[in-house]
Symmetry: D3
Subunit: 335 residues, 6 copies
């Protein structure tokens, strides 16, 4: 009888909650769709990454799994990574900002505490009460550290399974430390944040087990492929492809006019191909990539330099050089 | 104690019903996705239009809100706009045809009324009955006007909260004036429309408060941006982008052959770029935009003039000159 | 600014999970239906117990609330009571067996561990491995104690947010200590229990805060009323009322024959009332209460002693003397 | 071609909303279960009342249907009856209180209007504003009348299709008149009622068309049967049946002791039947009906006078003399 | 390697469709609630019948299972029993009418076939068409037999997986033989039944394997217990228990008056017990059982003979002598 | 009275099951979205193919409909086509592989049959048992044929309505022949496939009625249009479009370097258009189409020959010559 060792490479994804669906979408859009043969199962595969097994776990459990090495890669929230990653450097964050699951961890008190608006007011309150403040949270480690930094080393931490927001109302605790995504729930429960009570800003991130990466070139290859496609996809979401018809005698003249503008006169230059017209006017088709949030400005600039008939088309990936995130990871492995 | 005045610019969207989902999709596809932080809330934002607040209301309430100025812009149905816009020109329709939510307002009578097929038959029926016809509708104003035009000035209008279709069957009213989208519900309830009983054809439209547009350049700027992107998106939905490999010695000869065809020899001309082949045959890649409903014809024509390997790709926006709808709106503001 | 003190008496009920619905049903059937004015709210009332507020919390949080006194009464599982009640006697269990929510807390190992079937086999396994066994559980306190009793004082406890059953498979832990209700989930996950690994058998129970009961006669009165009605309801669920027509000349003779039988000749005797017949035969109607699980036997016995036309009717409550559970509680308060 | 006249007798029930389900339950518990052959249909039958057709309509439409005579009977809310019954006495309320659907119609203002707490404060506010207050409501008739009574004859009424609660916040109206069932929605939207702003308390009621009752003895018979069973069911819901064993030498002595108590010594007296015991002690079984809300007191009193083994059983109907509601209806028809 | 034989006794219940839920309810109301430990499983238990295993299968598969003996008892529809029971007498119907799942198997033709209203019209139609009629059905055996009896031995049977009602409309078949429960679906699809086209009236029934009953006394005991409780429950659903206060000097006089009435003067006579009153008037409480559908008449009769305060209470079971269905089954086993 | 003949062209789609949703998606992505005016109806339209009616039927009924000619085209599974197409060549398969709905039909036996792993082992088992093996399946025709081919001509086929997987466990049959999509259900039910027990691999296919195609040029035209767009769409799903910036002095030199690589040096050659840069370096934009599963390799190769800034964009259709599937169909019609 032995305890099983494993050959497969593993990626853990959130099994439920606000990170679950976007994690699957990120991978699908990155060309790595997850195939879950059985909805009742906690296991799945990524056909484009054979040899990799996907597991579904709660976000907090993913951190523990990756740190302890029962799983090689994980997508989870920066909040639980910070709470549970430990001090032993076994867990590497190989992409810190996957662009979804934004939230923040805050110190939250009853709306009716008129004189409590900053962390220092909690110190006064505690001395007034003559007993440690009672704080309910699911992030005891981060809470303890943050309170200690703000001269409250002795707060009493109270664990709760369920919704924290009602704790102050029913006297379960004096205040709470909890995740906030929109503020609405706070107002509904007559709670407020402190002006300097932001403990942490979080979004989804990609983590890996240091030992797995160091000891297995195959795992390292998977890390590279994940990063290549995720980075190329994230870059693509911020850009569009533009074809515009430009009046002008020759490509150089058209390009010259475009270079005078800030958005369409970007880093490199446009591709310019001749348009053949019935009447023989001189037109060229310019092809360029612009940032999605500068599209409106790009249209204006193209019109200014004689462009018309601007056709915007989608992009799926933009691959530049080998991704910076991959080089950073290699450096961390050396360190 | 004061009643709050507001600084924010507001856009009202339908909170439920057949216009709700397509309105959100139109904005998302127009590059203006709506972010609803809390599903229970009636408020949302469009991150790409900072300063604009989205409110969710019933379609009929949107008309009132825009007319009275508590909201600046609204997407709602032409049917409720016509019923409730009033005669005071406070409400402007700045885009009349957003391409979804098609339906028509019709005069509807029991299938069993064999001799009633036109509006004039209602006049006879009423005189036969010796009392005003009883009409149940949610559009009293349009109904009253339409009946008066057709020599029925004295019909009795009966309001109903719920489904109108059963009203004739249970004797709640003699006939109804109601929206029809597919005709199925009519047949299910053994009802029929009159051949000249079409009061109004409706689809979703974009409305604005005249005073807001006149008094605030910022609101005017929002109007322009909404129109630019909506118009460019709607135009894009009707077109595709085509790349075809064309055999030929030079671009001019290829273009000449294309100009002999109706669809691919369109207004301007194709972009033609050289293809470099292993064996040195002369090929050019033609890039052109064609209407989606002419795609089948375009493929046939391209094959006729030596094209092959036709690749069709999607387009997101097509920006032409400043949109006609924007110029129309400026004219209305002057008027 | 002060932290609110409360006047209301509070009863906490499970907000979700397998205890939630049956708790509400128990109270409804006990004549104490819970009125929840707003489905989104965590607060409710029992109109028949004015002055009492119902709160909805997670089962584990209920134990803490009652122990700390922010809540006076709670219905929750014996499993979480045992884990979290602490050693300070602040929490009293005033009804230990409410008849629903049965489950057991077990030591669970992989099905494939062929040589591990008893707790003592874990001791061998641990020494073989040369490191502490890693146990994942949501009941650390009970697990620690049980392992220590079985010569495993040094196991490593691993907390998990989510489902425990997959922990051994993915290497998150070696074994688990978890609740089992039917065994199916175990088989699905290829796990098994140990023959002497039953830590605890659990069902729902009613708990109270000792201090609240001692200091407030009103709270004591609520306790009495809860116990009176719950006990009378639970007794009623086990019994039915029977009316049977018995042929016989006089009540005494009929009763005599009934006393010869085991079920229908129960403790006291039957009520016997005369039936007036057309033909003047002598019949009496016997009314008696029998246990539901002895109903089949009672029918047989009644037929044996001349009974026929047996009509079974439901009972809602059976009140005997002041309930034993109430007297036990008073004794505990003295202790 | 003719407009159909009908032979069937009709009962309209609420098709949706908070009255729909309880209306069906009331009829089922009254021995008149509704059989809906097709969930998509608006028609149903009550097999125990052949000749009667059930229609499903919105609550407000039911009032109009019954008043106008397209339907003979209806179950709907007192609120919409009051708003829409008209002054022509065509509609009779034949049972005013069916025991469900309680709510109240209230004048509601923003929580932040610190100086507005009574109707008279609205008068001051209006004069301060220098314009009529703008009131959004679905009860224009009742609102108009109530405001006029309180010196506000000139308020501007604003119709809304959707939720009223957000109207003050977004400036759609100054205040609202709306139904309140629990107050929670008000607090969520930062609104409050006025201390003298209760316009109406409402619950479900049974209405009928006067002309139908006067002209058709069959319809009158249906009215009687509906009232007999509804009244007997409603009375039953408030009572339980009790069997208690009473120690005592003779029925008269036991009854004498019971007559000294307030609850168990009720109007008439108990039925007392002899219990035959093994040892020959003298016991009698007392059978009595007590009010459900006096059950606790009844148990106490029975114990005081020597009772034990109290068995409580349910009752389905209690029929007294011909129901008062039926006699009242006959009087109204005469009037 | 062997093919397993089984020890357990098995009862098969419908796994889905309109018989599934009522089958579980029948058993629950008969004191035999089914406990399904895992919603995903096809197996369950009846705690009050230890040794019995419940399996869930499709109604048609239940007939095959019982006939072939892989299951001992089944609840399913008479329709599929008739279609599939075969001619070998292996399957016994031990209760033919469980009171739910009523439907009928009918010959159904297009509404537009004006000249086809009886089976004989199909004969004419077929000779007119000059080819066999094409009949789509899920009951080929019953259809074949019924058509042959009506001079249509040669119809072409066409099997269909899905909904049959659209088959005539789309030309998949000329007519259909299908189950009808309410007629609404027929009208929706413009179909009609033939006046003599009723092949079979069906409801749920209890079936058993003859060999199992003959060879195992334990199985026979289970059959008896199922029948005892089901019969007693079905009888109870049709009756209520009544207590009425009767004015009168002695029981005999009261009974005499009751015997003059048709409903309350039923087979045997009432139980009459003295009521002890404050003022000493002579009252007796009458207890009797009446049929639910005669309740209204019973109330009227009681009032006529001096009764008042009529309390109606529910009954759960009525056990008479050993059930006829059990004796019938024993006779069949002999046969 | 006549039996209706039809003018419309019909396409049948699966009404439910795993083929239903993907069939609609295939058509939508092929530019032929289905418009279902009424969710309750079995009829729909494809606006881009006027004159075509869509019907929804069960997959097996579609085969019968197309074979018998009540429907012209169908999308359904190859499994049911093989089982039911008959031997009369009335049904043509015009596209055999639509790329979804993959499954296989397998011979499946209990996991515990250790000695049964191949078809020949079934022969031994049957002779050992001394009776025909009992096989439950929904594919009797294919099963019969496959067993006969493997020396089991006499197996007993047992029809089942419901789930087959439990049949061996409960003794309903010895083994089953069933569809398998993932294997999970087999393991859950402790079943296994035989190594040579694969009867058929299936996916969705497009079928047509031979007679309809031969007799109607319009139907033939619909077939061509369906095939053109489906084939072009399926080809597009396997490819992406790439734009890459290539450093180099002239197009020929760049192309030369690309031709040395396996993926990017594909059949024809790249389109190369000049990029105009600020500093005058020589860059060209290469446009090429690569297979989606070779994208990673293409990126690597482009980097190797001096490419950078690789932008990947989607393709909707790729039209080559007239589709092979259409020519194959014409050949079959001749045959």
């Amino acid at each position: 009888m032995t305890i099983e060792t494993r050959a497969e490479i593993r990626l853990a994804l959130p099994s439920q909650g606000r990170l679950a669906e976007p994690s699957l979408e990120l991978l699908a859009h990155s060309g790595l769709p997850v195939l879950k043969p059985n909805p009742r199962q906690y296991r799945a595969e990524i056909p484009n990454l054979p040899g990799l097994t996907v597991l579904f776990q709660r976000p907090g459990d993913i951190v523990v799994s990756v740190r302890e090495g029962s799983v090689d890669f994980g997508i989870t929230g920066w909040d639980v990574v910070s709470e549970r990653r430990g001090a032993d450097h076994k867990l590497l964050v190989i992409h810190p900002a996957l662009g979804f699951g934004h939230c923040s961890l805050n110190v939250i008190v009853p709306e009716g505490w008129d004189n409590v608006n900053r962390m220092e007011d909690l110190v006064s309150l505690q001395s007034e009460l003559g007993r440690p403040l009672r704080v309910s949270t699911k992030f005891p480690s981060l809470t303890q550290a943050y309170c200690a930094e703000h001269n409250l080393p002795e707060v009493e931490l109270i664990f709760a399974e369920g919704t924290l927001e009602i704790a102050p109302t029913i006297g379960y605790a004096d205040l709470i430390v909890d995740l906030v995504s929109t503020g609405t729930t706070l107002r509904d429960n007559r709670l407020k944040t402190l002006s300097d009570g932001l403990i942490l800003s979080s979004q989804a991130c990609l983590i890996a087990n240091r030992h797995s990466l160091k000891s297995s070139p195959i795992t390292l290859g998977v890390a590279r492929q994940l990063l290549e496609f995720i980075v190329a996809h994230l870059r693509a979401t911020e850009n569009v492809s533009i074809f515009a018809n430009m009046r002008g005698d020759d490509p150089e003249g058209i390009a010259e006019r475009m270079f005078t503008r800030s958005v369409i006169g970007g880093l490199q230059g446009p591709t310019l191909s001749p348009v053949v017209t019935r009447q023989g006017e001189k037109w060229y088709a310019a092809h360029l990539i612009v940032r999605r949030d500068q599209l409106s400005q790009a249209i204006t600039e193209l019109r200014q330099v004689g462009g018309s008939g601007v056709v915007v088309t989608p992009v799926i990936y933009i691959f530049e050089e080998e991704p910076k995130e991959y080089r950073d990871m290699l450096a961390l492995l050396e360190g």
